[in-house]
Amino acid sequence: MVQKTVKIANRLGMHARPSAMFVSHASKFQSEISVEKAGLRVNGKSIMGVMMLAAEMGSELIIFAEGEDEEQTVEALANLVSTGFGDLKDL
């Protein structure tokens, strides 16, 4: 099990589209993924779960991964969040 804490960097927070982007990235990995915010922990491959976190800019997320590719998984997802979802691909 690997975990990493990241801060939400994009100004509008993890609203619908960043959530969708997070989940579609997460779904590419083999590992079991979960995300925690303020004690609430959800499945990282579930868009409803991720949306439920209502993670606003500046809030802290802990990303957990367990599985063969856990290192890469956490790295990639943490990077996605901390760079403010890079290029939001949908625009």
Binding site: N10, S24, S46, I47, G49, E56, D90, L91
Partner: protein
Amino acid sequence: MIVRKRGLILKGTPASPGFAMGEARVIFKWEQTIEERIIPESHIDSELSRLENAISATLTELEEWRESAGQKIGGPVAKIFDTQMMIAADPEFLKKVREEIKSSCKNAEYVYGMLVEGIIEPLRQSSDSYMRQMVSDIEAVSRRIISHLVGQSETHQVNFPPDCVFVAQEFTPGEVLSLYERHAAAIITSGGSAISHMALIARSLLLPTVVGVPQSILKIKSGDRLVIDGDNGTVTINPPDEEWNELRRKRVKLTTRHISRLQKLPVFPPKTIDGIEIELAANIDLPGPIDEILAEHKIGVGLYRTEFLYLQSGNFPSEDKQFEVYNSVVEKYYPRPVVVRTFDLGSDKYFVGDDSRKENNPALGWRGIRAALDMPKIFKDQLRAILRASVKKNVKILLPMVADTSELSKASRLIKTCMVELYHDGKDFDHDIEIGVMIEVPSAAVASELMARKVSFFSIGSNDLTQYTLAADRDNDRLAKIFNPLHPAVLRLIKISIDAARNNGIPIGVCGEMSGDILAMPLLIGMGINQLSMNPSKLPDACRLVAKIKYKDTIKLADDIIRMTSLKDIEGRLLEFNMSLK
């Protein structure tokens, strides 16, 4: 547009511009109650397969909407439906629903509705509007799934006559698309916000929409006659007969949808009776079906707002991404020019939910060019993207909120730097790209002579120029009588700017709401404005107007008006001029 204030008027938030009139159809969606039933164990399997069927039916619908949106509006907006499809197919959530159906022995719609509520409820409480927007996305999906389960037909399946105005608490993006396909005249919601996905779709389809109209579903009854002004966010209920008929007679063309009106656009560019060609252009923001129609008519873009790139994602897209968006627009309009305005956002947009950076007065705060110059990396990404899209030489750069020539010099230097960098990167661009400034801060108008020497064109932002000159917030209802671009002081600033432009041999346009106002247009033309850029929905009327006036008369009109001392006289004279046209 003047809508006389009789009948009951409701005020909401403008979400998609345009004027419409039609009969109301009020849709009460939230009356749908979900029955709670016990399912015998022997029927659990069939209950689970009912759920699967409802989900796959919903996915098929969403897929169709996505395709239809893709064709009508274009890729980026269609992505809204991708997110909704992910919500509908969320494996983890559906697993929970199945387990709960099995363990509680309750019917699928009840369990699904209950579990969705558990997710939505905390989001509803969020103080952040973007977080609350997710509630609409989830509800859009869950309502479809539940109505498939209860076998109820939804809004988009019921038959309505054309040109109805639809009123509900909220509509989903898919519903807006369906209503549009079935010739809705306009949309009104009591909830919702102008940043919602539904509003985004409505704007892309040019469907006049007013959101956040308090009590609209209580005060409006199906069958009421409604007049909707999507520019100002007003809804007039049952205006007196004579007014309704007059509007109908005058505006009969407005009740048919804007796109078809645009397709039937008269000769372009329009000429005055005495043969003077008047340059009209479009204000656009989102890429949409309108682009093809405008391009086909050889209409250029006088104001391409880029803020939506940021507002949609809450991020500044990378240079490459921006280049893609700008380039596709620029290519569509080629060879007509596209004036790209750099980001014009303020602290109220940048720091949503971040109180520490909140300003008391964002309109007078850190916004437009001020913010851009403070964020050179972001500004350069945008400038480089615009420059790269300028290869075919039909792009111009417009700088917003310039109040001082030093800002102009700084921005120009930054543009030069970007050019040098691009040159070294081996990327092509228009070396002679024209750079212009918005004249919207009174200081820029007063000192326009100083600005004119340094730029290739002026564009008057009449909305901001009016609000800054008269110190009247244009969104403040109580100041509605004060905020008026025809005020003698505003007209004088416009005149100063026109004279400065003329003295320095550069063109000057107007791109605020004023330029699409039928009453103000002859005045602007007479004063010497070279280009009127307006919301595309105003273009057909503008073309017709131009064909009815004599250029020579507008000069006389402008001459008269600039001497007038009161707003009342000015409006009266413009009305008189308008009435004299045949």
